[in-house]
């Protein structure tokens, strides 16, 4: 099948939950927990969908998003941003940087799976 997700998240339990949701749907989930080296991880793994937390050790998710959008290779990469901060201005900021989808924690498992699927489908067409 070859559908892959890169999950950049530092909270182990959340990593485990998301991995379980996606893997049983047939996704290959790769995990990275450090913000500072996140863009390298993206370049290396070349995922179909990127799930990116905002509050990361080393570097903020917003900065990573900005970098990725500037880079030609990842300018159109489907990116789902996760945040626990729950402020509307975070969403606005993410959208201004060109995020594909924005989701606030906590999320439902179904919602997560649907969003990732939709993002992948969108990219295909």
């Amino acid at each position: 099948m070859g559908r892959s997700v890169l999950l950049i998240e530092d909270e182990p339990n959340i990593v485990e939950a998301i991995s379980f949701i996606l893997e049983r749907d047939g996704w290959t989930v790769r995990i990275h927990s450090d913000g500072a080296t996140a863009t390298d991880a993206v370049a290396r793994t070349n995922p179909d969908v990127l799930i990116l937390d905002v509050m990361l050790p080393g570097r903020s998710g917003f900065d990573i998003l900005k970098d990725l959008r500037r880079n030609g290779a990842t300018a159109n990469l489907p990116i789902l941003m996760l945040t626990a901060r729950g402020q509307t201005k975070d969403r606005e900021m993410a959208e201004s940087y060109g995020v594909s989808q924005f989701m606030t924690k906590p999320f439902s498992n179904a919602e997560m799976l649907e969003t990732v699927r939709a993002l992948a489908a969108e990219a295909k067409t």
Binding site: N13, M55, G58, A84, R85, Q87, K105, P106, S108
Partner: protein, 897 residues
């Protein structure tokens, strides 16, 4: 003979005449004419204010009692004027340069404008002059009494003894008359330079009257009574006067005293320095004044000898000048003698009272008045009337003091003895004054020490005995039987004349105190500056002698004037001056008149001192004195006052704007902080909730293998606990921050607290090094809260210490005032850039949010310690993470041990 009423009428008429003279002279002086009024002759004659009733009546009395000794009173001044007139010249030059108004002003000015010195000299001058003024009262009273009685000398004496009430009444009215007379003369107007042309001219007239009167009486006595010079010499040779035996100590002492007095007497300073208008007059006076003294003393001895020979025994020799003509029934001559004596007394009282009232007013009354108004004296008219009023009251008070002294001494002492008490008193200024002129090392403290010492010794050895303040027992055996302190034989110096004794000790100790204190103290900068300018006064070019020597270029003056007055007004003014000088075009010549007019004009806009200084600089006479500079500073300060008020206003506005800006920033910062805080709380709450929601959804799906089910349940459980703990911490912190926490203070042993904390943490993998001896310390605290702090620190080490074998060292240092407990682990420590934030809420030094706490622990610990009287801080520079908990002990909390 003339009756009492007639002589009163004559006296009043004479006073009216003097007023006319003064009035005329004032008017003349105010218009530009009347140059002779400011000439050397009026100056020299005004110096004769030295010759008072003491000279006029008392010298004859003195000669009758002590022979030629009366000459010493003339010898001193003569020596000063002939031999040491350069001292006077220096005094005069300084007086002009510094715009000195009195001797107190001069001395205080030299010693750093010290008001303490000014007040001291003023008090000294007033107290010292009081006997002298009383002397004038006594002599005028006596002369009136003579006319109120009979020509029979015996009866006069009886009258003096028997009708004291009548005599005192005369003395009282004489005092009142003199006070009114002086007030009318001396305070008619207020001149900034303290010059009284009218008064000085009237004094000069009086000088002529007293000289003519004494010579007339003398000539009458020599040629009219005894019949010629040879006969007179015979009478002198046969009279007790001729049996005079010289007494060297008294002779030298008196000569010295009168030499000092001519410089230090307040009234002499007034006429010699303050009223003086041209320094060159001193050259004339230096020979003319001794000549005047010689002339006035010429007939003293004949009058004394013939008076003793002719008049009956018991006649008061102090009145021979008056009683001899009366005895010979020469009414006109007696009247002239009366006027001579009256002139001597009034001129002294007028000048002395003016000089003293200037000092009292300038150095005591006005400073007090200004202080009482707390700097509100801005209306010049206001000050003026206060100054005049304070001078008038001072004059009345000074004459009243003289009257009181007269009553205290019963008016019975010989005139010359009273005068000598005064001389010795004012002579105490001499060391400070001479040092002011010649010694740059003299200091203010030295001057004060000398003045106080001299004044005290003088009062003790001379003044108080003279007014009868000491009992005979006290004089003979000393105070409380201490013979060494006998007022008239200090330190066992017996056999010395009491006056010489007093001069010796008072001046001697005065000078000694002055020298010693000056040498051990340091002058202030202003003293140093003034000292240099006083001592080197002749090195300054020009001096403040008007602008006669100026070489100002008119162009420069015009440029400056334009700057100050505006171009048009300045040009008009210069054009007008040129026309007045008879020029049809161009600029006026910089004549002294023109420059003076210009200075006045400029003074109107920039102030007198500034104008003087500015013109002085253009004139090439850069003699800008310290006083000038200070005055300039004062004026500038007034102008600045106004502009600083404006500045103040704009500063206030600026400040308001800044406060608004600050408030806005604070609000923004506050909302940013609040934002950040809410974001943090949101994050900390949502993260565990995310896991809980996800995993509970998995469990709801059912058909989950048992192994997964158990694992997911455990995660949900752990995250729930994490959530609860977070809420607990948040609540705890809120309570602590709001100060709502209830503390349970009681004695606790540090070891037990740490034991509890270690047990609660339960971190088996962390090795802990303790300090059992150091931990045995008891102090008052809230045990649970303190344990909470320790738990937090130990669990932090357990969580974050990244060493292979984590190890925590707990070290204790206790003193009387505080206990310090260090928690040092062997990990990599807190990164340098995080050290400052680790105590903030939600701050985690490491990025391991997995550590399972929200990052509130240190913030809570900090709050707890603040409540318990201590602090926690991170100590950098160690190998691992190092926290220090300091607990400040109240003084008695350790004593409870």
């Amino acid at each position: 003979m003339l009756g009492f009423n007639a002589i009163v009428f004559i006296a009043l008429a004479y006073v009216v005449m003097l007023f006319a003279v003064a009035f005329y002279a004032d008017r003349k002086a105010r218009r530009t004419g009347g140059a002779w009024l400011r000439g050397p002759w009026i100056y020299t004659l005004s110096l004769s204010v030295y010759c008072t009733a003491w000279t006029f009546y008392g010298a004859v009395g003195n000669a009758a009692r002590s022979g030629l000794e009366y000459l010493t009173i003339y010898l001193g001044p003569t020596l000063v004027f002939l031999g040491w007139w350069w001292i006077l010249r220096k005094l005069v030059r300084i007086g002009r340069a510094e715009r000195i108004t009195s001797i107190a002003d001069l001395v205080s000015s030299r010693y750093g404008k010290s008001s303490a010195v000014a007040v001291l000299v003023t008090i000294l001058a007033v107290v010292g002059s009081t006997p002298y003024i009383s002397l004038q009262l006594q002599s005028v009273t006596l002369s009136f009494v003579v006319f109120s009685g009979s020509t029979d000398q015996g009866q006069i004496s009886e009258l003096l003894v028997n009708d004291r009430a009548n005599v005192n009444r005369i003395a009282f009215w004489v005092s009142v008359g003199l006070a009114i007379f002086t007030i009318l003369f001396g305070t008619r107007n207020l001149d900034t330079n303290e010059r009284h042309y009218g008064v000085v001219t009237a004094i000069a007239v009086e000088a002529v009257v007293k000289l003519v009167a004494l010579i007339a009486v003398g000539a009458f006595v020599v040629w009219g009574v005894s019949g010629g010079i040879p006969q007179t010499l015979d009478i002198i040779a046969n009279s007790p006067v001729g049996e005079w035996r010289p007494e060297p100590s008294r002779w030298i002492g008196l000569t010295f005293l009168s030499a000092v007095a001519i410089i230090c007497l307040p009234r002499m300073f007034q006429v010699m320095v303050v009223e003086q208008s041209d320094e060159s007059h001193l050259a004339t006076a230096s020979w003319a004044f001794p000549l005047y003294l010689m002339a006035i003393s010429l007939f003293v001895l004949p009058i004394a000898a013939i008076g003793l020979a002719i008049l009956p025994d018991g006649a008061n020799p102090d009145l021979f000048v008056l009683t001899l003509p009366l005895e010979m029934e020469r009414d006109w001559l007696a009247t002239l003698a009366f006027l001579g004596g009256f002139s001597s007394a009034t001129s002294m009282v007028i000048v002395a009272a003016i000089a003293l009232s200037t000092m009292v007013s300038n150095h005591i009354v006005i400073p007090l008045w200004l202080a009482s108004r707390a700097g509100g004296a801005t209306v010049s008219g206001d000050v003026r009337s206060v100054v005049l009023m304070s001078r008038r009251v001072s004059i009345a008070a000074i004459v009243a003091l003289g009257y009181i002294y007269y009553r205290l001494t019963d008016g019975s002492t010989a005139l010359s003895a009273i005068g000598l008490v005064s001389f010795a008193g004012v002579a105490q200024v001499m060391p400070a004054l001479m040092a002011a002129l010649f010694w740059r090392g003299a200091t203010r403290r030295g001057a004060i020490a000398g003045l106080v010492t001299g004044f005290a010794v003088w009062a003790y050895t001379l003044l108080l005995p003279a007014v009868g303040a000491f009992s005979a027992e006290m004089l003979t055996f000393g105070p409380a039987g201490l013979e060494i302190l006998r007022p008239q034989a200090l330190f066992g110096f017996t056999g010395m004349d009491s006056l010489v004794h007093a001069i010796f000790w008072s001046i001697g100790l005065n000078t000694l105190a002055f020298l010693v204190v000056s040498l051990v103290t340091f002058p202030s900068p202003l003293e140093r500056l003034q000292g240099a300018s006083f001592v080197n006064v002749f090195e300054r070019s020009g001096g403040a002698r008007g602008w006669s020597g100026g070489v100002a270029a008119t162009e420069d003056l015009l440029v400056m004037t334009q700057r100050l007055l505006g171009a048009k007004e300045a040009q008009n003014m210069f054009h007008k001056a040129a026309v007045e000088q008879g020029k049809t075009s161009g600029l006026p010549d910089p004549t002294p008149d023109f420059v003076n007019v210009l200075e006045r004009e400029l003074a109107g806009s920039v102030g007198a001192a500034t104008a003087h200084a500015m013109i002085g600089q253009i004139n090439g006479q850069a003699s800008v004195s310290v006083q000038d500079l200070l005055a300039v500073a004062d004026e500038s300060a007034q102008m600045l006052e106004y502009s600083s008020q404006l500045e103040e206003k704009s500063r206030e506005l600026e400040q308001t704007a800044r406060q608004l800006r600050d408030a806005n920033e604070k609000l923004t910062a506050l909302s940013v902080q609040k934002d950040a805080f809410l974001s943090q709380i949101s994050h900390e709450l949502r993260t565990p909730m995310t896991s809980i929601r996800s995993f509970s959804e998995f469990l709801q799906e059912g058909d989950m293998p048992e192994k997964e089910r158990a694992r997911y349940s455990q995660i949900i459980h752990n995250e729930s606990i994490r959530l609860t703990r977070l809420l607990d911490d948040l609540l705890d912190l809120t309570v602590l921050e709001n100060g709502q926490v209830e503390l349970h203070i009681g004695p606790a042993t540090l070891r037990e607290l740490i034991d509890r904390a270690v047990a609660a943490t339960g971190a088996e993998h962390l090795a802990i090094d303790r300090d059992p001896a150091g931990e045995e310390v008891v102090f008052n605290t809230d045990s649970d809260r303190m344990t909470q702090v320790f738990i937090n620190l130990i669990s932090n080490a357990a969580k974050y210490c990244d060493a292979e074998k984590p190890r925590l060292k707990i070290a204790v240092q206790a003193s009387d005032h505080m206990i310090e407990i260090d928690f040092i682990d062997n990990g990599s420590g807190v990164p340098k850039d995080k050290e400052s934030i680790i105590f903030e809420k939600f701050a985690r030094a490491s990025d391991q949010s997995a550590a399972g706490s929200a990052g509130l622990g240190l913030a809570i610990s900090r709050e707890i310690l603040a409540r318990l009287g201590g602090e926690i801080r991170y100590i950098g520079g160690r190998d691992g993470a190092a926290f220090r908990v300091s607990i400040y002990l109240e003084q008695d909390s350790l004593a409870a041990e």
